[in-house]
Symmetry: C2
């Protein structure tokens, strides 16, 4: 089904058919209706490759994410998908599994794939080769979750978010508070959250706190269990993300500790599922869907204006503390 066949069947030129689909008002209502009817009968759909080739716009956005297995990113992608659809864009998501080489591969793939722009979360914007390459290519992009002064980023202020989470724990009487995180080196978010933690502890005048770095998510529970069984154990845990918080609660349980009675746990991310858990997860919520939505809007806006989003367009969205039930006063 090509524009050609529609034109023939309708007895008009291909240019007219094209106009009917692209600039309906540039065509007499009569011919327009006629063409539309014929096109409908033939089940004609404009070929998007041909259109892309001609216009140099694919109306496709690439999305690079670490994984879909963490609901944070699934929620964000959902937000991206909705906003993109609303704006007439399709998306091509690629996951990297937190691996730098996959990050590269993903960007290359998308660069070769004729996407109009890219939304991505990289391990670390300051050092990402993929990001460098992307910037070099001149393709519009927006980072999500990452924060960096030289790139357009949609993020939240993790640092102060974690600091105030610590303050809450301190108010509840906690003094021995530890942080649980994935590998710091692997993620600027983890680093920011750790800094927020240090800052919160310093503000409260508390001891240099412990960091439990959990390199492999699969073994998190084992490591945490070990940590919780060593004395003196903390009375509260601040976790770098909700998945880790959930695993920490599990580890506490395996160590015979009850949350929040014996141990308070705070997560970070605000995944929807946290609210349905028992105890409901106390966490710093990020507007994951909105983060996705804004990234699309920023990109689409720039695309429409023929510009490239720059660092000045960065957005820091509001975070919040969801009280939940996994935090309690020290007895």
């Amino acid at each position: 089904m090509s524009i050609q066949s529609v034109a023939e069947k309708a007895g008009v030129s291909v240019a007219t058919v094209s106009r009917v689909f692209n600039f309906p008002d540039k065509v007499t209502p009569a011919t327009r209706e006629h063409v539309e009817r014929v096109a409908g009968e033939l089940g004609y759909l404009p070929n998007s490759s041909a259109r892309t080739l001609r216009t140099q716009r694919s109306r496709v956005l690439g999305v690079v994410l670490p994984t879909l297995l963490n609901p944070v990113f699934a929620e964000c992608l959902q937000g991206i998908a909705r906003a993109a659809a609303a704006g007439g864009y399709a998306i091509i998501p690629v996951t990297t599994g937190y691996q730098l080489d996959e990050e590269q591969r993903a960007v290359n793939l998308l660069l070769a794939g004729n996407v109009d722009g890219l939304i991505l979360v990289v391990s670390n914007p300051a050092t990402s080769a993929a990001l460098e390459r992307l910037r070099g290519a001149g393709l519009p992009y927006v980072l999500v979750y990452n924060r960096h002064p030289e790139h357009p980023c949609i993020s939240v202020d993790s640092e102060s978010a974690v600091a105030s989470a610590v303050a809450r724990l301190v108010e509840l009487g906690h003094r021995r508070i530890a942080m649980v995180s994935g590998t710091l080196a692997a993620s600027d978010r983890a680093q920011q959250r750790w800094r927020g933690f240090l800052q919160g502890m310093a503000t409260a005048g508390l001891e240099p706190p412990a960091l439990v770095e959990v390199p492999f998510i699969e073994t998190a529970v084992d490591e945490l269990t070990r940590f919780l069984e060593a004395a003196p154990r903390p009375t509260a845990l601040v976790c770098s993300n909700d998945l880790l918080a959930i695993r920490s609660i599990r580890a506490a349980h395996l160590s015979g500790l009850q949350v929040p009675r014996d141990l308070s746990v705070i997560g970070f991310d605000g995944i929807a599922l946290g609210e349905d858990l028992t105890p409901a997860l106390s966490t710093v919520t990020q507007p994951n869907g909105d983060i996705g939505r804004h990234s699309v809007e920023l990109l689409v806006q720039a695309l429409a204006g023929g510009t490239v989003p720059n660092a000045g367009a960065s957005l820091v969205l509001p975070h919040a503390f969801r009280a939940g039930e996994s935090c309690a006063p020290v007895p």
Copy 2:
């Protein structure tokens, strides 16, 4: 950066450059290396739209899913993404929010988007207009999770899976067992699971059991709470999916019931997160990633052979029961 400029700079014809990228062995090693170097210097990447237009193959697969907010589908999509990438395909996912009209819209969008094939979960294959349209279009597709004798489907035998889950509960001494499900009318999976439940109960010679239909996932907990507080309350719940099971446990908690001491709960889906909960979720696991992977492989295989997957290629993958901790004997 076009093939043309590479050809000129390398002093060869465009055909040669094309061959270097598509059939490297059809070119002298010398020229090949030369062209590759020049292409590298120029940062040349073949334009995929032009290629698609010419070859009529986009190497893109469309994916239609209800939502990414349920980890089942996120896990499946992750499997799809991996397998697709491995096979040299990109994916365009579209979510429908369980809405029939969105299902239509998604299929139309993808049909117009030059995808080579579609992977989809529809509400009900027997009645889906979108599926009908798709079949009419002659585009290769595979259903996932759905089951229907006239379509190629990757699924598990939910019916017997639920039946045997019921049998386990019966072994544990349960007699008053209820099922918790989303709207039956909205999903063939829910219907299959309900049938499995009925069958399991019948086999055990138990009373016509209760069904708690939860139309809106947001209000699930309220409804469940009400149900659990009415007498005589069940001693066990079989839930149509893990999210519902998690909410059921929450509802039990809100009603002052402890799981599994006062109430046993079994889920369905086997989302990874279930293992990290406390109590760990007892559930019927589906190989979500594999379901995705197989759907891609089936599609890619058909695509390679120039055929269309048909109902005969359907796969029923093995399910399993993950014992977890949310089930216990009746005291």
